[in-house]
Subunit: 270 residues, 2 copies
Amino acid sequence: MNAQKKFEKIIKKNDSLVCLGLDPDLQKFPSHLQQSEDAIFEFNKSMIDATHDLVATYKPNIAFYEAYGIEGLKQLKKTIEYIKKSYPEIPVLLDMKRGDIGNTASKYAIAAFEYWDADAITVYPYLGYDAVKPFLEYKDRLVILLIKTSNPDSSMFQDMEAGGEPFYMAMAKKISKWPEDNISIFVGATYPEELKKMRKLFPNKFFLSAGFGAQSGQIEKAVRAGVDKNGGGIVFNASRSILYASSGKDFAQGAREEAGKLRDEINKYR
Amino acid sequence: MNAQKKFEKIIKKNDSLVCLGLDPDLQKFPSHLQQSEDAIFEFNKSMIDATHDLVATYKPNIAFYEAYGIEGLKQLKKTIEYIKKSYPEIPVLLDMKRGDIGNTASKYAIAAFEYWDADAITVYPYLGYDAVKPFLEYKDRLVILLIKTSNPDSSMFQDMEAGGEPFYMAMAKKISKWPEDNISIFVGATYPEELKKMRKLFPNKFFLSAGFGAQSGQIEKAVRAGVDKNGGGIVFNASRSILYASSGKDFAQGAREEAGKLRDEINKYR
């Protein structure tokens, strides 16, 4: 089954557009977990077991594992293997934000799709088509191109005027001509107007979005802007607000409640 | 000692602007090495021992290690530790091409400068200042911003017209106003005109360049375009042409000869 179908199926089954970002931060873990040798894996496993019927995908951001070095990456490996074994219907979206010239990009693609076995990954398109192609050659996986990021300074370069429109838009228009079916689009949920424009340009592509805060108003705007004509075709990431909803022994239950609340809030506007 | 000074010192001592890219590819290794459990480290060690008086820096591209998974990254760790212990005067330039929003960028910065202990790394500036700042906070390390890449399709987005000039130039002009001293610049050696413009905009910054082929004419153009007013301030990467100069038992000697030839060829035009 190709990755886009896998996403569509679980979105329907769990009636959810929630992407849970598995971004571990040992200092925020419940104290009873902090001593464990496999603390990160055990924390992730608790999160996964508590939310597997409420989310559409798990998105580990590899930076949070690389910060703990090779030991951290071992925890990521165990986490991905656990999802694949216990909940094979849930796609793994590995947030790597990679990008390099052709020969090197093909090495990153091996890492992403063969070693980590991710269903989808994030990639910078800034280097041009020849640098993205090695990823796109894995036709059953999704390559999510970072078009417009969620951070405050994203306008600095991404909104620079390029031939009468913002740079990110000019870039997106060229990308819309690329022939591959397994292209996917990232736009920050903090920019609902831009998200709306991208949905118009890519009506049938799968989208990833992230970065909305706690305010319901922001969620409404982003969801209405981002869903496809069937009210799906996109997932919205949340990390800390779910992972660290409770810091006590009930941390998994706290996460489950937050994930459920976010699912329901998003579903109001689909 | 800050990283830029470390580069300047070794450039002078070894009279070299050569950056040796440690990009291991097991299939290209001499056959007697391929069976070893630590083949990548042993290959790298041979390269380092054979060239330490001829180069200015070693640049492992982490993609080539990630492709071998956690085992590959262990070989990278051993390689960096070996350089730091045996040749502490030679800076380690870790080519990671990372970039993410603030909170996540700070995790990549921990990985780069604390776990891997790199003297310099490569970073995408495309997300804006707030995404680069967590790297720049390591004031004794160099943050090499990818302005114009060496691949054929780099013109697709990087040369898009933005306010009457190419996008990469408009981006670079904004970056030139950033206050930090530890900013460094990457421009592909395949684009000597662009390299020349960037040297003019950043007369005192340290540069990394890469991608010139075997033709002497290309080397001459890139070197003349990239050096600072003292004939230094830049390193030029070569990987495969040195690493795999010979595939026999004399592979280290073959690499030494190629590195020496490249050093001398570059020095003709400084």
